[in-house]
C-alpha cells in the first residue's frame, strides 16, 4: 500500500492575464508512482508542473512536497522542461548541459568541479550519450537532445522527477530508452510525473494518471480510471481506447 504522499496540491488556481488556465486543482500524488498528466492543448498541463516548481506564481492555493514548501525541498526535485523551450544553438556542449543539473546543489557562486563532472559523465553513460559528450548541442538529433535533458535531471539524483513532454519529436528507439529509464526510477521508489500526449501508450507506460482540462477531471491508478468516461470528459469527444491488463 502506497501511503506516503510525495506531492500535495491544494486549491491551486493559476491565471494568465486574469484568465484562469488552472482552476481549483486538488491533487495528491503518492510516492513511487509513474504518473502521466494528459489533457488537450491548453489544458494547463505544463502550467501545473511549472506552478508546482515555483516557476509560475499561482493566484491561489498551495503546493507541498513531502509536507513542506517547494522552496525547502528543491533538492528533492528534478525538472525536464520541454525540449523546444531552449535555444539549441546556445554555444555549449552536451556534457556542459548535463552539468547544469548539478548547479542546484551547488547553490549560488560555487562552481562545479571534478565531483560534478564525474556525476554528469555517469548520467550521460546511463542515457547512452557518453560518446557525444563533447558534441555541440545543435549538432545533436532531437532524440539525443531529449536524452541530454533526461541525463541532466538524473544528475540531480532527486526523489521526484517532472518531465514536460519528453517523448515529443523523438524516434522510437529514444522513446523506449527513456521509458525504460523512467521505469527504473520508479523501481527505485522515485516519483515520476510526465506530461504526455500519446493516449495509446498510457496504459503501457504509466501506472498512475491525471486527467486535466483547466479543472482536474480525475486522478488515480491507470487500471481504475483510464476509461472512456474520463477520456470523454477530458477531451470532449468519445475516445476508444482499450485497456490492456
Amino acid at each position: 500500500m502506497k501511503s506516503n504522499i510525495a506531492i500535495k496540491v491544494d486549491d491551486l488556481t493559476v491565471a494568465y492575464n486574469y484568465k484562469p488556465v488552472l482552476w481549483d486543482i486538488d491533487l495528491e500524488i503518492p510516492e513511487g508512482v509513474l504518473m502521466a498528466i494528459v489533457g488537450p492543448n491548453g489544458a494547463g498541463k505544463s502550467t501545473l508542473i511549472k506552478s508546482i516548481l515555483g516557476i509560475l506564481n499561482p493566484i491561489a492555493g498551495s503546493v507541498s512536497i513531502y509536507g513542506k514548501s517547494y522552496e525547502k525541498q528543491r533538492a528533492l526535485v528534478a525538472y525536464v522542461p520541454q525540449k523546444g523551450s531552449v535555444d539549441w544553438d546556445f554555444p555549449t556542449t552536451a556534457l556542459d548541459v548535463v552539468m547544469m543539473g548539478t548547479y542546484g546543489n551547488l547553490g549560488w557562486i560555487k562552481r562545479p568541479g571534478q565531483k560534478e563532472k564525474k556525476k554528469a559523465l555517469e548520467a550521460l553513460e546511463k542515457v547512452g550519450m557518453l560518446p557525444f559528450k563533447n558534441r555541440q548541442i545543435s549538432q545533436l538529433s532531437g532524440g539525443q537532445q531529449q536524452r541530454i535533458f533526461l541525463a541532466r535531471a538524473l544528475v540531480q539524483d532527486a526523489s521526484i522527477y517532472f518531465m514536460d513532454e519528453p517523448f515529443q519529436g523523438v524516434d522510437a528507439t529514444t522513446e523506449i530508452a527513456i521509458i525504460n529509464i523512467l521505469k527504473e526510477l520508479r523501481k527505485a521508489n522515485k516519483t515520476v510525473i510526465v506530461v504526455h500526449h500519446d493516449l495509446q501508450t498510457v496504459p503501457e507506460y504509466f501506472d498512475w494518471v491525471t486527467f486535466l482540462n483547466v479543472k482536474k477531471i480525475a486522478t488515480g491508478p491507470v487500471k481504475d480510471i483510464f476509461n472512456d468516461d474520463n477520456l470523454t470528459k477530458t477531451y470532449g469527444i468519445n475516445y476508444k481506447v482499450s485497456i490492456q491488463e
Binding site: 522552496e71 522542461p81 535555444d87 548547479y103 549538432q139 538529433s141
Partner: protein
C-alpha cells in the same frame, strides 16, 4: 606614441572589454535591441544627474542613468506583457520617449553648459585625456579611464562570481527557476551592468558606439565558436582589436575615433561572416556543393550495386544511364576512385569491398537515421554531419 595617444587607446580598449562581457549575454538572450534602448534612454538620467552635480563624471550621474536604464527595461516588459504589442514595438515606443525627455531638458536648461546631445550620442574620445583626475593635487590620469576601469573591474568580478548562474538562466530559464536561481534577479543584474557600462562609456565613446561595442564583437564571436567561455574571450579580443585599429584608422584618416572603431567592428564582422570556418557564408556554400557531389556519389554507387550487367557499368555510358552531364559524371567517378570505392577494368566500373561497405552503411543511415553507426564517416563526408 604620445601619452595622450596611449591613454585614448587604453580607454577605448577598456570600454570595449566592459561592453563585450554584457554584450555576449545580450546577444545570446536575443536582447541586442535592449542595449540600443538603454543607450538612448539613459539621457534623461544623465541630464538630471548633471543638473544636480554639474559634473559629467559624478557617480550620482552614473547611478541615475543606470536607474533610467532599468526603468526602460521595466517599461518595455510591462508594455509587452499586456500582449497588445510585440517586444520590438515596445522597445521602439519606450526609448524615443525617454530620450526626447532628455533632449527637451537639455534644450530648456543647459544651453550654456558643457552638455549637448551630440556629446552624449557620439562622445569624443580625443578629448578624454584632457579631463584629468586629480587626487590631492596629483594627476593620476584621465577621469574616464578611472571610471571605465572601475566599471570593468566590477563587471569582471560579477562575471566570475555568477558565470554559472548567467549561463544557466540564459540557456534554460525554466530550469534555473526550478533550481532556485531566480532568472529575474539575473536578468535585472545583467540589465544593471549593461546600463552602468553604457553610462560609463558614453562620455568616452558616445551612446551609439556603446551599442556597436556590445553587439558586434559578440555577434562576430558567435560565428566562430561553440563554447561560451571562448565566445567571451573572442568577443573581448575583437572589441579590443577594433578599438585599437579603429583609433589608428581615425588617426590616418583624421576622422572621428568613435566612427572609425565602429567601422572596424563592421569590417571585422563582415570578414568573419564570409570566412568563418563552419558558419561562414563561403564555408556553407562549399559544404552545400560537397553535399551535392556526395549525394551524386551515393547515387552512383547504388546504381553500381543494383546492376550487375556490363552495359549499365560502362564508363562512357554512365552519363546516359543515370542522366548526368559529362562533367558531373567525371567528378563523381574521380571522387569514387580517389576513395578506392570502385575499380575500372577495361572501361567497366565495379564496386570494391570498401565501396560496397560504404554503400550499405550510408543506406542504413539514411533509412534508420541512427547517428552512432556512422561516426567514423563524418570526418570524410559532409553528408553525414547533419
Amino acid at each position: 606614441m604620445s601619452s595622450a595617444q596611449i591613454e585614448i587607446q587604453l580607454i577605448a580598449s577598456l570600454v570595449a572589454i566592459a561592453c563585450a562581457i554584457p554584450g555576449t549575454f545580450l546577444v545570446l538572450r536575443k536582447m541586442a535591441m535592449i542595449s540600443d534602448a538603454i543607450s538612448h534612454s539613459i539621457l534623461p538620467g544623465i541630464v538630471i544627474g548633471f543638473f544636480i552635480t554639474q559634473d559629467l563624471n559624478s557617480p550620482l550621474l552614473i547611478f541615475l542613468a543606470a536607474i533610467t536604464g532599468i526603468i526602460t527595461v521595466v517599461l518595455v516588459e510591462y508594455i509587452q506583457k499586456t500582449g497588445l504589442v510585440k517586444e520590438d514595438t515596445a522597445i521602439g515606443l519606450v526609448f524615443p520617449i525617454l530620450f526626447s525627455i532628455g533632449v527637451i531638458l537639455i534644450a530648456k536648461n543647459a544651453n550654456d553648459v558643457h552638455l549637448d546631445v551630440d556629446a552624449v550620442l557620439l562622445g569624443e574620445l580625443a578629448f578624454a585625456p584632457f579631463n584629468r583626475l586629480l587626487i590631492a593635487g596629483v594627476d593620476v590620469g584621465p577621469k574616464s579611464l578611472w571610471i571605465i576601469g572601475c566599471i570593468l573591474l566590477i563587471t569582471i568580478g560579477l562575471l566570475f562570481a555568477f558565470f554559472k548562474e548567467l549561463k544557466i538562466s540564459t540557456f534554460d530559464a525554466g530550469l534555473a527557476a526550478s533550481l532556485g536561481f531566480s532568472p529575474a534577479v539575473i536578468h535585472y543584474g545583467l540589465m544593471t551592468v549593461s546600463s552602468v557600462t553604457t553610462v560609463g562609456a558614453f562620455d568616452a565613446v558616445g551612446a551609439i558606439l556603446v551599442v556597436a561595442l556590445m553587439i558586434a564583437p559578440a555577434a562576430t564571436a558567435y560565428l566562430l565558436t561553440t563554447n561560451l567561455k571562448r565566445m567571451l574571450v573572442y568577443a573581448i579580443c575583437f572589441g579590443v582589436f577594433s578599438a585599437i585599429s579603429g583609433y589608428w584608422l581615425a588617426h590616418w584618416l583624421d576622422a572621428s575615433i568613435a566612427g572609425s572603431i565602429t567601422t572596424m567592428l563592421g569590417l571585422l564582422f563582415l570578414m568573419v561572416y564570409l570566412f568563418a570556418p563552419n558558419k561562414g557564408v563561403i564555408a556553407v556554400l562549399y559544404r552545400e556543393k560537397q553535399q551535392r557531389t556526395e549525394v551524386s556519389l551515393l547515387t552512383f554507387l547504388l546504381h553500381l550495386r543494383n546492376h550487375s550487367e556490363e552495359e549499365e557499368r560502362h564508363v562512357n555510358h554512365l552519363n546516359e544511364h543515370i542522366n548526368w552531364q559529362k562533367v558531373r559524371s567525371k567528378t563523381v567517378l574521380e571522387l569514387a576512385l580517389k576513395n578506392n570505392m570502385i575499380v575500372i577494368d577495361n572501361h567497366i566500373v565495379s564496386l570494391t569491398e570498401k565501396g560496397k561497405d560504404f554503400t550499405s552503411q550510408a543506406l542504413d543511415y539514411i533509412i534508420t537515421n541512427e547517428d552512432s553507426k556512422i561516426e567514423h564517416m563524418k570526418d570524410d563526408f559532409f553528408l553525414f554531419r547533419g
